[in-house]
């Protein structure tokens, strides 16, 4: 059984919500990134979204864009992302979702992508700029595998379209809290609550919220509404803001714990 499904099963039993961390692979460099990812998983991340750095991340805000640029500068690529994931799989059992722009996969070769993902033990694939209409080839390549295609839904997604999105998707539904790119704040909790409820009613998969969640208070407010929360820029911001690389894993782990506390109801902020 796919690690993602297993995780949600277990969380459900424990009546807890998934903390999903987005971190760019190779940011700020391969080795530090490995330590950061390991620390995050060990600190209590339920699912890891491993971002493949791309030169033109049009769906991301400035924080993740800068992380992507750092990773690329240090020599990161899709192939090395697979290496990183493989190494991580040696030390943690956390489900890993590969988070990529389509061009990287397309250029690498979709069949190679499929086989390498299986080889290294990646559990899901989220292609941010690949709507289901364009995903036929990718679906075909992954059809033999256990790997889930994770889908995004947006506040602008119609109900009719939501059904279609969920068809053939697996793992969980990534529900975007608001229009815009990653990393920008200003969440309207009550609007999100209403929208999430609607989506959950239509969606057989776990529904996780992402975009703009960065504090324990956000986590505390939003966790009850959904099956999990996705936090990205808040982690990447720590990497950007820390000069001493050796401190990064520890700081990331602390952030995980802080968010975890928020989600588990131990903190309710202003």
């Amino acid at each position: 059984m796919n690690r993602i499904d297993k995780t949600f099963q277990k969380l459900k039993q424990e009546n807890r919500k998934a903390l999903i961390a987005f971190i760019t692979a190779g940011d700020p460099d391969f080795e530090t990134s490995f330590q950061i990812l390991k620390a995050a998983c060990q600190a209590g991340v339920d699912i890891l979204e491993l971002g493949v750095p791309f030169s033109d991340p049009t769906s991301d805000g400035p924080v993740i864009e800068a992380g992507s640029a750092r990773a690329l500068k240090s020599g990161m690529s899709l192939s090395k992302t697979f290496k990183l994931a493989a190494r991580l799989r040696q030390v943690v059992d956390t489900p890993i979702v590969l988070f990529s722009y389509y061009n990287l996969l397309f250029k690498h070769g979709l069949n190679k992508v499929a086989s390498q993902m299986s080889e290294v033990g990646i559990d899901g694939l989220l292609v941010v700029d690949l709507p289901p209409e364009e995903a036929g080839d990718l679906r075909k390549e992954l059809s033999g595998s256990e790997i889930h295609i994770i889908r995004l839904a947006a506040p602008t997604t119609t109900h009719a379209r939501l059904q279609m999105l969920v068809d053939g998707a697996g793992g969980f539904l990534y529900l975007i809290t608001r229009t815009g790119v990653t990393g920008t704040g200003g969440l309207d909790y009550s609007a999100i609550e209403k929208h999430t409820a609607e989506v959950k009613a239509l969606c057989p998969l776990p529904v996780c919220l992402g975009f703009g969640i960065s504090t324990a208070a956000d986590a505390a407010h939003l966790a009850p509404m959904a099956d999990g929360l996705i936090v990205g820029s808040a982690f990447v911001r720590i990497i950007a803001g820390t000069d001493d690389k050796s401190q990064m894993p520890m700081l990331i782990a602390e952030k995980v714990k802080e968010l975890r506390k928020g989600m588990d109801g131990e903190v309710i902020g202003p």
């Binding site: 791309f54 030169s55 033109d56 991340p57 049009t58 769906s59 805000g61 400035p62 864009e65 640029a69 690329l72 690529s77 899709l78 192939s79 722009y101 389509y102 061009n103 990287l104 996969l105 397309f106 250029k107 690498h108 941010v128 700029d129 690949l130 709507p131 209409e133 364009e134 889908r151 995004l152 839904a153 947006a154 506040p155 602008t156 997604t157 119609t158 379209r161 999105l165 975007i176 229009t179 815009g180 790119v181 920008t184």
Partner: protein, 407 residues
């Protein structure tokens, strides 16, 4: 041209917005609804005679169409080969073919009740055109432009500002057109309900490539009628420069089912053998960027390369998806012209015809001059002179000085 050819006009894109394996809609989920809304709106508008009448009268009364078909007699005589005709988009309001497209999209934005428009720009021509139409329609306007291009194209920045647009400097990536387009897409994702994104060329997600082509085909429709009326024959060869490819698609499209050769001229910068060029088809490979599957300048690993050209309007690492298809079908040939060749052609047109062409258009011209030499005087080459070169004066003067060329 003996065997029965597939008819191309009207055949692409298919119902899902694809040109063969190119095109489509490679965007984040947030934009899907808006693109669907746009597709519907465009379908309804283009079948609405009232809309099309308003579009055509604005082209005439505001943009100054039809633009002339002009025989470059002194240039042709000097070359001593095929005769070169120019489709004079430089005479259109704001100085380039870009205005055709923005009038159409502006009218569509109005029809859709959008009060704000945004656009990306490289050379500034599309930015000026968009600021122009926003002023004309009383819409709020933001133009995204790389800081590098802001530096290179200062007069166009002044023009946009005088027209009331806000020019938003983009510092990400290479600070040029591709980053401006990324920035515009990001802004659009956030403000998608109120904002109409006016893309400046035949690229981007469906329905943009089709819509922009349909709005620009007036170039070719006019030129075809003018050729038949003024010269009583069709041209043997059509030549247009290809940045995103809108002036080229606009010229080529109505001739696609005619027995005319066609060449799209990409910017070969310092040479196709170097990394400094912008020839996505001649020097790139397929991939997905900014919403479409098409030819891109990219690394083996799929990272997008910075494009290079003396001409800011060609300085983009992608190309409209319909060009990718026409290339694969061998219906259009794509050739590179270097910075130096373009500058020489620029000077030649100034001196022989009294027309200062845009550096972009000078690429098409340079290829036409080369090709004319190989052909006889009973052949006709029709060149799309996509814009005027007033915006390039300082830049070209510096280039001539730096390269110690005679001005």
């Amino acid at each position: 041209m003996n065997k029965e050819k597939e008819k191309l006009i009207g055949a692409y894109p298919d119902a899902t917005g694809h040109f063969g394996s190119y095109g489509g809609r490679y965007v984040g989920e947030t934009l899907i609804a808006s693109l669907a809304e746009l597709e519907e709106a465009w379908k309804s508008a283009k079948n609405d005679p009232e809309f099309m009448t308003e579009f055509r009268s604005m082209l005439r009364d505001y943009a100054g169409r039809p633009t002339p078909l002009d025989y470059a007699g002194r240039l042709s005589d000097d070359i001593g080969g095929a005769r070169i005709y120019l489709k004079r988009e430089d005479c259109a309001h704001t100085g380039a073919h870009k205005i055709n497209n923005v009038i159409g999209q502006g009218l569509l934005a109005k029809r859709m009740g959008k009060k704000k428009v945004i656009a990306e720009t490289g050379a500034g021509q599309h930015g000026v055109a968009t600021a122009t139409i926003a002023a004309r329609f009383g819409m709020e306007c933001k133009i995204f432009m790389g800081v590098e291009d802001i530096r290179r194209q200062a007069p166009n920045v002044l023009r946009m500002q005088l027209l009331g647009a806000e020019v938003i400097p983009v510092t990400a990536g290479t600070s040029t057109l591709k980053d401006a387009m990324s920035a515009a897409l990001r802004y659009w994702v956030a403000e998608v309900e109120e904002t109409f994104y006016i893309i400046g060329t035949v690229s981007g997600p469906h329905p943009y490539p089709e819509m922009v082509r349909d709005l620009q085909r007036v170039i070719g429709d006019e030129a075809r009628a003018q050729m038949l009326k003024q010269v009583c024959q069709l041209p043997d060869l059509l030549v247009a420069c290809v940045g995103g490819g809108s002036n080229a698609m606009g010229l080529f499209y109505p001739f696609l089912d005619d027995p005319c050769e066609m060449v799209g001229v990409e910017a070969a910068g310092l040479g196709l053998h170097t990394q400094q060029h912008a020839a996505s088809i001649s020097g790139g490979s397929p991939g997905a960027l900014h919403g479409a599957m098409t030819y891109l300048l990219q690394s083996e690993e799929g990272q997008i390369h910075e494009a290079w050209s003396i001409s800011a309007g060609l300085d983009y690492p992608g190309v409209g998806p319909e060009h990718a298809l026409l290339h694969d079908l061998h219906r259009v040939t794509y050739q590179g012209i270097t910075d130096l060749e373009a500058v020489e052609a620029f000077q030649k047109l100034c001196r022989f015809e009294g027309i200062i062409p845009a550096l972009e258009s000078s690429h098409a011209l340079a290829y036409a001059i080369k090709e004319a030499k190989k052909r006889s005087a009973d052949e006709i080459i029709l060149v799309c002179l996509s814009g005027r070169g007033d915006k390039d004066l300082t830049h070209i003067t510096e280039y001539l000085q730096t390269n110690k060329l005679k001005s």
